[in-house]
Amino acid sequence: MKKEGKSLEERFRELMEEAQFYFLSKNYEEAEKFLEAALKIKPDARALYTLGLIFEMRNEKDKAQEMYRHSLELDPDFKEAKNHLAKILKG
């Protein structure tokens, strides 16, 4: 069991790395796929936040807001998520 847990953790890290690579290369659709795959393994504040960024860039504000809120539920001190959520709520 322990071994399986570790490999899932590794897989999660790999998916997040891929997602961040695509995010930085401005290939947001790909980044989104990897983030969603990572989130299937476990909920994660940063993955949710990064999805929020992608939705925000596409003007999908409701979805972005939801992601930032989820992210803050997992990590209430996540400064960047707070800032982006505030920005959206301000309109």
Partner: protein
């Protein structure tokens, strides 16, 4: 002497008006109850005050009585809006422009001496209708009865192609006057983020990237076609 302004209420509408006036080089005094909103203007406005606009003494002390024009937009608070309009009139402000909250409110304001009632919500019904019908549209500004400027997320089939390849002018009689582009980066703490840059008057060789926002000028019906691509 250049006209001087006071903007009371720094919500989205008020702060945009204040910013636009400051950019045009006018002297602007801003007032809001929210310190954070006022602080955004601390360095650019000729006066930035955290206070309640219904406080007559505070209004006077802030020099609001000396401005040529006061623009009032206090969110959904009809009572404050009416009260402040009255105070502005008493302070001798010649031009009072108030954002209307509902039609009856506008009528009261007129009676109280507001010189102009504006209803951006109504005025921009077209903009709202469009943005509801397509989340890809960020904004539409009417520049004349025929022409508008529309901000729209670049359609997917434009991605990776230079402007010369997509023939917006030839096929849709629409010009790309600017591109709002996201730059993604990692913060020092490793958290990803993005910021936006604007490319003014992009050239034919400029390539469109995923999630670019195109700022387009053209007739409304043509802009709408592009927004549906």
């Amino acid at each position: 002497m250049a006209k001087t302004f006071a903007v009371i209420g720094l919500g989205r509408f008020g702060s945009q008006i204040a910013r636009a006036l400051i950019e045009k080089g006018f002297e602007v005094i801003v007032v809001d109850r929210n310190e954070e909103r006022v602080n955004e203007f601390a360095e650019i406005a000729s006066g930035a005050f955290v206070m309640d606009g219904t406080d007559e003494k505070a209004l006077r002390d802030a020099g609001i009585g000396d401005v040529d024009c006061a623009i009032l937009s206090v969110g959904q608070n009809i009572e404050s809006s009416i009260l402040i309009t009255m105070l502005l009139k008493e302070l001798g402000v010649k031009e009072i422009i108030v954002k209307e909250i509902m039609p009856i409110h506008g009528k009261i304001l007129e009676k109280l001496g507001a010189t102009k009632i504006i209803n951006p919500e109504k005025d921009t019904a077209l903009r709202l209708a469009s943005s509801f019908s397509s989340p890809r549209i960020f904004d539409i500004i009417e520049v004349s009865p025929d022409y508008s400027v529309m901000e729209v997320v670049a359609p997917k089939n434009f991605w990776g192609r230079p402007l010369r390849d997509i023939h917006l002018r030839r096929d849709y009689h629409v010009s790309v006057i600017a591109i709002r582009r996201k730059r993604t980066f990692f913060r020092e703490n490793g958290v990803p983020d993005f910021e936006e840059n604007i490319i003014i008057a992009p050239g034919a060789d400029d390539e469109i990237e995923e999630n670019d926002i195109l700022v387009l000028l053209g007739k409304y019906e043509n802009l709408e076609k592009v927004s549906k691509l």
